[in-house]
């Protein structure tokens, strides 16, 4: 095997990992702040993808710009979801809260998946859009993926700045580290929780808007994607932006390498072995707070 092929695989894994990272980070912050294992996260990605398709098809948005419509819309969806479904169950004991949150988000995701199946007339959707590839010294770079990766990096930087600079951003980080401490210094916990969940949902939907350009989307992609994002979150550590990025890229690379050396049917298994390895060596994740 030549060196260029190896580089090619690395780049492919890197690009794939970048797309993973965006949705995974959305899951990570809402998990860090709300302690909710949000099974419905992948469904928001799926809905984001379908909304993006709708904007493209019926309102004539440019495929790469649909995200501008999807993000604010799903911010709102996230607010509503948190307010109506998650806040009421917060009154329970921690163990009951864990159970109730799984019942509610699993119920919601089954419902979303089935209703989408029912309403959607096609079995899958995708946005036909492609750009010529770039060639750099024998290495072929898919330019569409590069542009998407660039967009993801921009979005990630914006979120990063928001978390570092704004008051709400600081409150979100404070709550991830220590909820009681945050409450003591006057963080309006319910409001911050709602905003966090909104951002998490919007990030998933934004990832969906990119996803639909690269892959076909069916209503049933939600739960498997959630599982994958959850493993990235565990890999990277809760609430850590860098952790999600590295976790996502690590997963993307591992999958790409296994894909090439062992065959595509072993790729999901490699991701799992990676996960168990990290869990055994470092249970709080690569960049998690202990």
């Amino acid at each position: 095997m030549s060196f260029t092929v190896f580089i090619q695989i690395l780049i492919g894994g890197l690009l794939q990992g970048g797309i993973y990272a965006l949705a995974a980070f959305g899951l990570s912050i809402s998990f860090g702040v709300l302690n909710v294992l949000n099974v419905a996260h992948g469904e928001f990605l799926m809905l984001g993808a379908i909304t993006s398709y709708g904007l493209f098809k019926f309102l004539g948005f440019h495929p790469l710009l649909t995200v501008l419509g999807v993000f604010p819309l799903f911010l709102l969806v996230g607010f509503l979801f948190e307010r109506l479904l998650l806040r009421p169950i917060r009154a329970n004991s921690p163990h009951e809260f864990l159970i109730a949150s799984i019942l509610v988000t699993l119920g919601a995701s089954l419902m979303i998946e089935d209703v989408t199946f029912f309403l959607l007339e096609q079995s899958f959707i995708s946005i036909p859009f492609s750009l010529p590839s770039l060639k750099l010294g024998g290495v072929v770079l898919p330019s569409i993926r590069l542009i998407i990766l660039g967009a993801i990096v921009c979005l990630t930087l914006l979120v990063h700045l928001y978390l570092r600079r704004s008051f709400t951003g600081k409150a979100i980080r404070a709550m991830t580290q220590d909820k009681e401490g945050a409450m003591v210094v006057g963080v309006p916990v319910p409001r911050v929780a709602m905003i966090t969940f909104g951002i998490g949902t919007a990030l998933a939907a934004a990832a969906g808007a990119f996803y639909v350009i690269l892959f076909a989307v069916t209503p049933s992609i939600g739960i498997p994607l959630t599982v994958r994002y959850l493993s990235i979150v565990i890999l990277g550590g809760l609430g850590s932006l860098v952790g999600s990025l590295i976790g996502g890229i690590l997963l993307g690379l591992t999958e790409a390498l296994t894909n090439f050396y062992l065959g595509s049917h072993w790729a999901p298994a490699s991701a799992f072995f990676l996960l168990v390895l990290i869990l055994v060596l470092r249970p709080q994740g690569l960049f998690g707070y202990k």
Binding site: G107, F118, L230, H265
Partner: protein, 318 residues
């Protein structure tokens, strides 16, 4: 002293034993499936309910039992030996995974165990020499269909009863109390001298026995399995959802949950051609919102149930 309640239980048991004589084979199969889910839900409850570790990968033991039985039985071992060995495989597996997995808590544990069944499903797909891969594994049952149904019916009934009895027994021992104390506060339990890791390990191994057994029985009854049937989402989530719907950590919870879900499914599948999953989802959502303790908690919230007898609660000391 025999109470009225005990009499009711005896009558129900007598009915279940005689059921194949009275009912048609459709209803017998229906009862058989109920026993299967009851076994899975009740054995989930040891780790998931009493100990409070949400083991989303509980069906791993079921799937292992299914495949182990199928492989051994097709190699010419007898039914009893194959069932025994498949239970052995599952218990050893539980022992093995307890070391890495019990380093995790709460949602992390739930996620990692959920990932585990995905991995096992993949292995079942990919290790085609052993499992026949995606085509699925089939066996020759060695007896005619109606006798097979009858035999597996009684085996499943016995397994379900044994699983429930084990739950009940554990709840009334020191071991069971230790599990509850782990659920309520693991650090305090540890400080009081409970060997938490050893107990968690033991609980996981006990909870592996019955799903493996019912997995083997189910394989014998169906004479076929594929990776999806052994490790798929359906068999993984439905029993856990049943246990949570009914109420985890109680004796009656899993029973109530299983009856509730199977009856709803029966009603839905005959009345409604589509959107089953959506109705199922809405039901889960509503229970999670309004009855997070499960249906056994209903009497606490709804005046309608106020006068019903209190369910047998396991946490007696907390």
């Amino acid at each position: 002293m025999v109470q009225l309640r005990h009499l009711w239980i005896l009558m129900i048991l007598a009915f279940l034993v005689l059921a194949p004589e009275i009912l048609g084979s459709y209803k017998v199969v229906f009862l058989y499936l109920t026993f299967k889910y009851l076994t899975l839900a009740a054995s989930y409850d040891i780790v998931g309910g009493q100990m409070g570790y949400m083991n989303l990968g509980h069906s791993a033991f079921f799937g292992l039992g299914t495949y182990a039985f199928g492989i051994l039985f097709s190699k010419g071992f007898g039914v009893a030996i194959s069932l025994g060995l498949s239970v052995g495989v599952a218990v050893l597996f539980a022992l093995g995974i307890s070391y890495p997995f019990f380093r995790l808590k709460e949602a992390y544990f739930a996620l990692a165990t959920f990932g585990l069944i995905t991995l096992l499903e993949l292995l079942a797909f990919n290790l085609a020499d052993l499992t026949e891969g995606a085509a699925g594994l089939s066996i020759l049952p060695g007896m005619p269909g109606d006798r097979l149904l009858l035999t597996t019916y009684y085996l499943a009934l016995a397994t379900a009863l044994a699983a429930l009895a084990t739950n009940y027994h554990i709840a009334n021992t020191r071991f069971g109390l230790a599990l509850v104390s782990i659920r309520e506060d693991e650090e305090v339990a540890e400080a009081f001298g409970i060997p938490t890791f050893r107990y968690k390990q033991r609980a996981l191994m006990i909870s592996a026995i019955f799903p493996a057994l019912i997995g083997g029985i189910n394989m014998w009854q169906l004479t076929f399995t594929d990776p999806e049937g052994a490790f798929g989402i359906e068999v993984a989530l439905v029993p856990i959802v049943m246990a949570m719907l009914g109420g985890t950590g109680t004796i009656w919870g899993p029973i109530l949950g299983v009856i509730f879900v199977t009856v709803i499914q029966e009603l839905l599948w005959t009345r409604m051609p589509y959107l089953h999953l959506a109705v199922y989802g809405v039901t889960l959502l509503l229970v999670g919102l309004f009855l997070p303790g499960g249906l056994v908690e209903a009497r606490r919230h709804l005046p309608l149930f106020k006068r019903l007898k209190a369910p047998v609660k396991m946490q007696r000391c907390v």
